[in-house]
Each structure stands twice: as structure tokens, then as C-alpha cells.
Amino acid sequence: MVHPAVISVPRNLDIFMSHEEVSRCLFQIPALVNVNTSIILDFEKVRFVSPVGALPLAAAIQAARGSGKCEVTGTYPSDRSVERILSEAGFFSLLGVSERMPPRKRAVGSWIRHLTGDTAQGEVVELLKDQVFGDSQTEGDAISDIYAGVTEAINNAVEHAYIEKGGYAISSDFVRSRWWVNGLIDRSRRSFTFVVCDLGIGIPRTVRAKMESSGLSHWATYVNDPSRKDSDLLLEALAMGGSRTELPWRGKGLRQVREVVDKLGGRLRIASNFAGCSYSRGSFSVQDFSTPVTGTVVEWTVPLDAVVPRQVSK
């Protein structure tokens, strides 16, 4: 009998703050699944958890479990506040570990537990809204803006993210076309963060694959230029608004992903393959990673007051 492997979850579970550590941790999961080895996630050292770290980990856990090849479980962290966060974020129920802490009635942060699907489902935005705001009235236009961005990110996951066979190491029916969503309301910072991720081939690789098959020689030359990094392609896709297919009416989705922060304020961050990109107030900044992200992670952080009237969110 093969003993389960222990994966140490990094101190800062945030794909931008501790990119290398988080990516290495995430990469170990499918590698172990492929050799039918069960996994114990060791949360002992974790001190900080953000939605943009929690969601890719939740996705990797569900993908591993969905493969039917192994068990995944986990330990409690030593830090009680982290345990509470992991509990509220839904990790213990995901890992089949009993939750030791009762949910708080009123907390500074409210987590939206991960939601997942494999078709273009707009209902997820209503579920997200209901989990956070209950019956409170949210600003209608703000929810419409969030709806446009989140559903376009989901559509990209369903339609484009898994176009290349073997895009994810766990090639199971469960993973194909699948997306995940989670979020956090931070009342102390008065911000609302929501994240969409997939385990597909990533935006830079999607751009390369589409250009190679498009027959457009100038784009094929552009994407195949060896000096062209993933960050160039990610920035190109995000700044120009799409995946540059040969069809002129396509490629508006990423523009809407960006427009959420144009309209509501705040910041958009995307991590995909070897690239990270941040967008705020009309400006982009890019980051090159030495360890790739599996798939794509899209995070929006918008001012809470842009989404819900102040008296409701107190």
C-alpha cells in the first residue's frame, strides 16, 4: 500500500503574493494524482488566505477527487484565525474534515464558498450575490457590470480554456470545461473580491493555439516569435480585448472582464501560464513567473460601496 504524500501549503496562500510557493504546491497535486497517490494537505504553516489562493487550491482538490484516482484530505492549521477562514471558505467540507468552529454571525470578512460548473451559467452571479448580500438591495447597475465580467470569464473557460488535449494533467471528464468562482467581502477594507478560475491551457497558450490555426501569417509570426513571452501575449489579449481569432465579431469578452473595474473602480488581476497582469485606472502592469499557473485565475477587487449602499453593508 502506497502511503499518502504530504503537501505543505505555503504560509501565504495567495497566487500573486507568493506565486512560486503556491504554484509549486498546486503543481504537486495533479502530479501525485497521476501516480495514484493520495494526498494530505498540511495547512500547519498557513498564516494568510486570500480568495485568489483559495480558489485554485479548491479547484485542484476537486479535480483530484473528480479523477477518482486518489483521496485528498488535510490537517488543521495551527493558527485559529486561519482555521476559521479555511472553515468559512469551505475547505474542511471539501476535504472531508469536520469543522470545529461554528460560523460567526457577524464577521469582518464574509467568504463566498467556491461554486463550480461546466457550462455558461449566469445563475452563478445571483448565487454569489445572495451569499453575500442576502435579501439586501444591491446596486442594479453594479451587479450587471459584475455579471458581464464574471460570465465572460466563465464563457472563456467553457469555450476556450480546454481546447488543447491534455491541457491539464488530470484529463478527466470532471475537469473539462470546468470553472470555479469564489469571493470575499472585506468590511474593514470596504472591498469586494471575486475570483474565477479554470484548469485549462491558459490564455497565452490559447492565443498561440488559435493563431497557429487561424491562417493569419502575421499573427502566427507574432505569437511564434521566441522573444515573445507569455506576459506579452496576456497583455495583448487583455489590452486588445480578445483572443484575436480570424473572425472580426469575436474577441469582445476580455474587454468586458476589464470593464468591471473601469466602471466600478478597483483592480483586476490575471494569472495564466508564466504571466501575471494587473489592471487599474486604465493602466496595465505585467509580471513574469518562473513557475507556471495551470489554467487561468481572474480576480476583481472593487470598492464595496460601488456594489452595495453603505447602510446595508455595515
Binding site: T119, A120, Q121, G122, E123, V125, E126, D141, I143, S144, D145, I146, Y147, A148, T151, E152, I154, N155, V158, E159, S177, L247, P248, W249, K252, G253, R255, Q256
Partner: protein
């Protein structure tokens, strides 16, 4: 003169999303093919009421309205005579007619 009104929120879905039927049940392709095209074919005028849904994304809107030119053979001029879109959101109204005009231009120039 026959007039048909389609309320997307109650007749179709409060959660319209996506371009093709292959990726979801409430796609632009399905709304255009099963609701809008038949209504345009059998009525002199069609009014589409957009409000009441949670939101729209560009994939749905482009496939629905730009798709009328691409797949059903209408021109922008014909759609201006037959189709009315109703919404309190001016930006949504403008976006739809932009997709129609862009697709009309694309079709006329043979770019599609």
C-alpha cells in the same frame, strides 16, 4: 400590422449568457434562433424588452443581434425598420446597435 413583444427576462431567462448553444442553455444562438428569428419572420415589428435580467455579456448580445445579419441575412436597415429594443440602459441600447452596424459593415465588405 402585427407586433410581437419578447420579454427576455420572462420569456427566455433572467440569466442570458454566452454565444453558442454548445456552452450553455441560455445562449445568444438559442435566443436568436428559437425566439427572435421566428418572431421577425412572422411579424411586421418585433419589440425586445431587455430589462429585468441580472445582466448581459457581449457574447450573448453580439451573437443575438449581430447574428441576425450573419445567420438570418438581415441588413441593419431592415432591422431598424422591424426591430425595436427597449431598455432603460442607454449603453445597452447603443451596444446592440453597434454590433448590428459592425456586422452589417463586415458583411457588406465581405470580411466575414
Amino acid at each position: 400590422m402585427t407586433i410581437k413583444t419578447i420579454k427576455i427576462a420572462s420569456d427566455f431567462s433572467r440569466f442570458p449568457s454566452g454565444r453558442s448553444e454548445a456552452i450553455g442553455p441560455f445562449s445568444g444562438e438559442r435566443f436568436r434562433r428559437d425566439f427572435l428569428e421566428p418572431a421577425l419572420k412572422s411579424n411586421d415589428k418585433v419589440i425586445v424588452e431587455l430589462d429585468g435580467v441580472l445582466g448581459y455579456n457581449s457574447s450573448f448580445l453580439e451573437e443575438t443581434f449581430g447574428g441576425l445579419i450573419r445567420h438570418a441575412g438581415y441588413s441593419a436597415q431592415q432591422l431598424r425598420e422591424k426591430l425595436e429594443v427597449k431598455t432603460i440602459h442607454l449603453s445597452l441600447y447603443s451596444e446592440i446597435w453597434k454590433y448590428i452596424d459592425e456586422m452589417d459593415y463586415t458583411a457588406r465588405e465581405g470580411l466575414s
